[in-house]
Amino acid sequence: MPTYLARRIGQSLLTVFLTLTTVFLLVRLAPGDPASAYAAPSATSADLARIREQFGLDEPLFVQYGYFVRDLFTGDLGTSYSFHSPALDVVLDRMPYTITLAVSAIAVTTLVAVPLGVWMARRADTRRELGTNVLTIAGQSMPDFWTGVMLLTVFAVLVPVLPASGFTSWSGLVLPTVTVAVLQLALISRLVRREMSTALASSYVTVARSRGVSESALTWRYALANSSVPLVTALGTRFAALLNGVVVVEVVFGWPGVGSLVVRALETRDYPLIQATVLVTATLAILVQLLVDLAYPLLDPRVRLGKAA
């Protein structure tokens, strides 16, 4: 166990560094003057010269990398010139909104997809199978921006039940959550159905059935318990992915999270901000994924307690 822990943490650290390095290299390898990337569009040549000196852009690459890493450790991710404040602060300010959206989407997904997946797995009749296939495939196939715009139009404009954008009240969370949840629901309910079907077809369920265990106990106690480990890890992984992936939905609904922040930063060519956003969100997602992977042994007694001879 301890070796697994150490190895997994080491892996995550490596990935974080890889992300940092990739971002660092990308900005410097892009066509054009890196200095202009870090400068405001209205910079003069004097400004550019100053920035070149500040970032050490004339120095060899690995020296620049050194400055880069050093700055990271001191929490200095540059200054956003569109916000006129440290980039890190801007990102951390908006991070809670993205996290809220991701959490609520995962919560909704869990509450709906698990019973749905179990229902889909239980009895196999043609109508049920057709219906569920159609639903899940449709859910996977709708682009989130399109779903978002459609939902927005119907529920915020045509039938103004919910707010169109921003975070004026908690009801503003509803539409973005539903939009994000559509895809996650499709994926997770398919996973639950798959795992449940495997579990229900397995030997221990048949043997339990021979002991007179009722069908509902077989489903909800035996099969579901055995599906819970892959389910929880999948939910965790999806949550990590959502932290980075809700960009489009945030833009559609004007949700003040890091996704819409990054898009705005791209429009204004605010590279310090872009860099900071990517780094923070990536690190957070990697961290979440690490926690999910570390939780796995805790959930599965076979891994936790080690295998017998």
Binding site: Y204, G212, V213, A308
Partner: protein
């Protein structure tokens, strides 16, 4: 139920499997009975239909796969005609001992939980503690050492032989009148097989339960059976008492089957190598962490 009513009365059982390749007749009309205190064995090679018969008798074959016809009376109730009857007798009148002990228990529940649930299914009035006490006693009966500690262990922490004994205990929790043993020793080491079979026979002596044994191993059949049915391609090729089949096989197929058993030289079976006292015949420690 009258004394002479057989525990299991199978008449013209036919099991057809609907596969992607067409309809396959796995069991083509078999008739046999199992009475109190007797052990009836179905012996045959793989693919002969013997396991399908056993699972079919208990109606444990997947519904979308198997079509049953004929009649199977367990304690007088026809389970082919009435699927509810099958649900009623499972875990009460009849129990299954499965083939592969390593996959026969839920990996994420402790064995105590599963055994306790089986006990409380049979006697819903038992409390958790009472069920645990009875369960520990059952584990002792199947010669699991330190049952109180083992109660909280998970299936993967046991060896195949111990798991099979736990499964026998779980089967007994139902206080059945009939045991269906589907190749109970095929997945076990040779040294462990004998102890499991010993256990089964001892239990039968004490409780008088009837047993339907499925095996491909003639040695096993010879050891435990009162009556033997030789099965091939879904049908009985020959039937008779154990001595008749083994000593005076009538059919050429039976003789081939007998001849296929390798002849071993003299073997000293007196040494009990079970120095850990857990009744398993193993010499070394079995379970990491669940120390004796």
């Amino acid at each position: 139920m009258a004394e002479d009513t057989p525990l299991l009365d199978v008449a013209d059982l036919q099991v057809e499997l609907i596969t992607g390749q067409g309809v396959v007749r796995a069991v083509d009309g078999v008739t046999f009975t199992v009475r109190r205190g007797e052990t009836v064995t179905l012996i045959g090679e793989s693919g002969s239909g013997k396991s399908t018969t056993a699972m079919g008798v208990l109606r444990l074959l997947p519904e979308g796969l198997a079509v049953l016809s004929g009649s199977v009376r367990i304690a007088g109730r026809d389970v082919v005609a009435d699927p509810d009857a099958a649900r009623a007798v499972r875990g009460r009148t009849v129990s299954l001992i499965p083939q592969d002990p390593m996959t026969a228990l839920s990996p994420v529940h402790t064995i105590g939980r599963q055994l306790g649930d089986a006990l409380r299914l049979r006697h819903p009035e038992l409390t958790r503690t009472e069920a645990r006490d009875k369960g520990v006693e059952l584990l002792g009966r199947v010669r699991i050492s330190e049952p109180e500690t083992r109660w909280k262990a998970y299936p993967h922490q046991f060896s195949g032989g111990m798991l099979q004994r736990i499964l026998i205990a779980t089967a007994l929790a139902a206080e059945p009148e009939l045991l269906v043993a589907d190749e109970p020793t095929s997945a076990l080491d040779a040294t462990v097989q004998a102890s499991v079979l010993d256990l089964l026979m001892e239990l039968q002596e004490h409780t008088g339960i009837g047993m339907l044994m499925i095996t491909h191993d003639l040695g096993v059949a010879r050891l435990v059976s009162d009556r033997i049915h030789v099965m091939k391609d879904g049908r009985f090729v020959e039937s008779g008492s154990a001595e008749e089949i083994v000593e005076r096989p009538a059919e050429p197929y039976t003789r081939e089957l007998l001849a296929a058993v390798p002849r071993l030289g003299a073997w000293d079976e007196d040494e009990d190598e079970d120095s850990y006292g857990d009744g398993d015949g193993r010499i070394g420690p079995l379970v990491q962490g669940a120390t004796s």
